[in-house]
Symmetry: C2
Subunit: 366 residues, 2 copies
DNA sequence: CGCTAGCAATCGCCCATGTAGAGTGTCAAG
DNA sequence: CTTGACACTCTACATGGGCGATTGCTAGCG
C-alpha cells in the first residue's frame, strides 16, 4: 500500500534484473526463468529473491508470463523502459559505416528513388530486418532545363530537368490549345530567367508576375513546376521496402495469417506511411513498440525510425520493421547512422549538381 | 503385360473418372475417394470398380495417394493431361470482359509500366491468384522529340519523347566533351529528320550514315536511341507482380518456409523472368504445372502465361501464379482474354499517339 | 528486515495409447 | 467385367500419464 507512490519506477536492483532479462530474451528467444537470471545476473542472489523482484516487475507491467510456470518475457512497456533507460547502445563497427557510406554515395546523381532504394537495402542487410525509406521530398530542386510539347486535347507535356540529371515529366490539362511557338517562347523564358534557381523560388517569382501580362502563359508555367515531387506516370510518392521476407524468419511471426496481413499492409502503403509520418515531427530516432503503433497488425512488431535531412530540412524518414524482440542495441545506432549518411549523400548530390549546371569544366576543357 | 502397349493412354472411362476426380479435387481440396467418385461420376459404378480404375490411373502416374487410405489427388502429370485434353473451358463472363477492357484502356497514354501494372492487378483480382505482367518492350516506338544536355565528366543526358507522351532519359558516357552548340545541332538534326519515325528506323538510317562525316556525332546520336526500353534510373526492365499475398491463403502453401522462398524468388525476379521468357516462343496460353517449371520453389505452383502482341510483334508476357490446384477452366480464359485486351490497349495507344504527334486539331482550332 | 531454502502446485510439452473413420486392395461370386 | 464383402492400413483426434521447468508461498536464518 504505502509503496504505491514509489512503485511507478522499479528499484535499482529491479532495473538491473530487467535489463538482464530483456537482453537474455532478445538473445535467446525463450522465456527467462528465475534460475537463469540468478546465474547470469551477476548479483549473487538466489532464485527465490529474483522471483520476488520479478513479481514486482510483473506488477508494474514490465514483464509477463506467457503461461504459468514458463519464465517471463518483456511486455511492450518493458521494452519501452528498456530502450528508454536501460539499453547500452553498441556503436556501429567502423568498417560497416564506411561500406554503408560507399553504398549511398555516387552513381545516384539525382535519382531520389534509387538512392532511397539503396538505403533501404542497406538497412535490411545490416539489421536482418525489413528496411523502409520514404522517397525524399526534394526540398531543394534547382531548375536545369525545361521543355514543353503540345499534346492533343488541350494537354501539354512538360519535361523538366532538375538537379543535374533528374528528369521529371507531367501532363498538364490546360483550358485552351497552345501553338508550338507559344510553348517554345514559354520554355525559352523559363530557361533564360531561371536556370540554376530553386524551383520554389521560381514558383514565388512567377506568382509575383501573375497580375502582369500574359497570365495565361503564367498559368502554364506555374503548373509545370507545381508540386514538383512525383514523376508523372510512376507510382506516386511512397516508400521503398526491402527485405520483407526476412520477417518470415521470426518465430513470433510464423503464423501465415499474421504474415499475410502484414504483407497486405505493406502493399497498401497507407498505414505504414502515416506511421512513418508521425516521426517526421520528432528529431532523432523514434521507436514504436508493439501496440504503441496503434495498428493491430503491428502488435508484435517494432518500428525504429529516424528522419533524415538535407541542410536543416527534413526530407524523409527511414527505419526498420521487425519483431518486438529485436537487437535494439545494434539496430538503433544503425538507423541513426543511416539517416545521417543518407542525408549527407543527398546533400552532396545537391551541392555538386548546380555546379555541373554551370558546367565550369566545359569552358576550360575541350 | 499385354496391356502395356495401350496403357500409355487411359481408357475412355478412366478419362472420365480422372476428369471428375480433378474437378472435384480442385473444388474441394480434399483427396477424393472411390466412394465419392462412385456417387458423383454419373457412371453408375460401384466404389470397387472405381477403385480398379483408380489403380490403373495411379499406375499411369496421373494420380497419387498422399498416404494409404486417403483418396487420391492429381499429380502434375494428371493436371497436365487434364488441361491438355479434359478441361472444359469456361469463357469469361461478358460484363467482366467489358470491365477489364475499361481498366486497360484510357489514362495510360504511353506509360508502359502503368498499364502493365493495371493488367497485373486485374489478373489478380479476377483469379484470386498472383498476377504478373512483364513490362512491354516498345517494339514500335516513334520518335517525338529529342534533347541533349551536357553533364560533367564527358557525360551527356539524353531525353527523348516517344509515342505521344512517354519520356525516357539516359546518361551517355562519351569519349570526349561536347559543347552546348554541338549538342543543340545534333538534337535539331534528329528532330528535323526523324520526328514521327520509328526508333528502329532511325537507328538503321543513322547506321547507314556511319561512314560519312561527323561520325563522332553519329556515335552520340546512336547511343541516345540504342536499347530504348528501360528508363535510365528506374529499376530496369522486369515485371509487375500483384496480389502475391493472395497466395498465402492456400493450404498447400501454408508453410511459412515455402512462402518465404517463394517471395524471395519474386524479389529476385531472375528465375521468374526466365520462366516467363520461355513462353515468348509459344503462341497462346502456356502452362507450367508443378515440377514442369524446373524450379524447386515452384513445385506446388502452376504458372499460366500468354504472350501479348502489338500488331503481330510479341512485346511481353503476362500470366498468373497460383497453386497447382487452381480453377484452370476459369483461369485459362482469363489469361487468354487479358493478353488479347492488353495487346489491343497498347495498340490503340500507338495508333493514336502518332496522330497526336501531327497535331491535326491545332491548325484548325484556336 | 531482507534474503534464502524448501515445498507444493501449476502448466506446457512429449509420448504412448486407444478409437473412430475413411479408404484401399483383393478375392470370390455373379 | 462388375460387385459386395472383408481385412488391412493409416490419419486424425482425444485421452492420460510422466517429466521438467518455474512459480508463489512460507518458515527460518542472519
Amino acid at each position: 500500500m504505502g509503496t504505491e507512490l514509489t512503485s511507478d519506477l522499479p528499484s535499482e536492483r529491479a532495473r538491473h534484473v530487467l535489463r538482464i532479462l530483456v537482453e537474455h530474451y532478445i538473445r535467446e528467444g525463450h522465456p527467462v526463468g528465475s534460475r537463469t537470471l540468478s546465474l547470469t545476473a551477476g548479483l549473487d542472489l538466489s532464485p527465490a529473491t529474483i522471483r520476488n523482484v520479478m513479481a514486482d516487475l510483473e506488477d508494474l507491467g514490465f514483464i509477463a508470463a506467457p503461461h504459468t510456470s514458463a519464465g517471463r518475457i518483456p511486455t511492450a512497456k518493458g521494452y519501452r523502459f528498456f530502450v528508454d533507460t536501460l539499453v547500452r547502445l553498441q556503436p556501429m563497427a567502423e568498417p560497416d559505416v564506411v561500406r554503408l557510406q560507399g553504398q549511398l554515395e555516387d552513381r545516384f546523381r539525382g535519382d531520389a528513388k534509387a538512392i532511397a532504394s539503396a538505403a533501404s537495402s542497406a538497412l535490411s542487410a545490416l539489421t536482418s530486418l525489413a528496411g523502409v525509406v520514404t522517397i525524399p521530398r526534394q526540398q531543394k530542386a534547382t531548375l536545369r532545363h525545361i521543355e514543353f510539347l503540345p499534346l492533343s486535347g488541350r494537354r501539354v507535356l512538360a519535361i523538366l530537368v532538375v538537379n543535374d540529371a533528374e528528369v521529371q515529366n507531367r501532363i498538364l490539362d490546360m483550358d485552351r490549345d497552345y501553338t508550338e511557338e507559344e510553348l517554345r517562347r514559354a520554355a525559352n523564358y523559363l530557361n533564360e530567367q531561371f536556370t540554376g534557381r530553386d524551383l520554389s523560388e521560381v514558383r514565388t517569382r512567377l506568382r509575383a508576375n501573375l497580375d502582369g501580362t500574359r497570365e495565361y502563359m503564367n498559368r502554364l508555367m506555374l503548373d509545370s513546376i507545381a508540386g514538383h515531387a512525383p514523376k508523372a506516370g510512376t507510382e506516386s510518392a511512397g516508400y521503398v521496402l526491402s527485405g520483407e521476407t526476412k520477417l518470415m524468419n521470426f518465430q513470433e511471426l510464423s503464423d501465415v495469417e499474421k504474415i499475410r496481413q502484414l504483407f497486405e499492409a505493406f502493399g497498401e502503403q497507407r498505414e505504414i506511411l502515416t506511421l512513418l509520418d508521425r516521426s517526421v515531427a520528432a528529431q532523432g530516432v523514434q521507436i514504436f513498440i508493439g501496440e504503441e503503433s496503434g495498428y493491430r497488425i503491428l502488435d508484435d512488431c517494432t518500428i525504429v525510425t529516424a528522419p533524415y535531412t538535407v541542410g536543416d530540412q527534413i526530407v524523409g524518414v527511414l527505419g526498420v520493421i521487425g519483431p518486438t524482440r529485436m537487437a535494439y542495441e545494434r539496430v538503433i545506432p544503425i538507423v541513426q547512422v543511416t539517416a545521417r549518411l543518407l542525408g549527407a549523400a543527398l546533400n552532396s548530390d545537391l551541392n555538386v549538381g548546380p555546379d555541373f549546371g554551370l558546367r565550369p569544366d566545359l569552358n576550360s576543357g575541350s
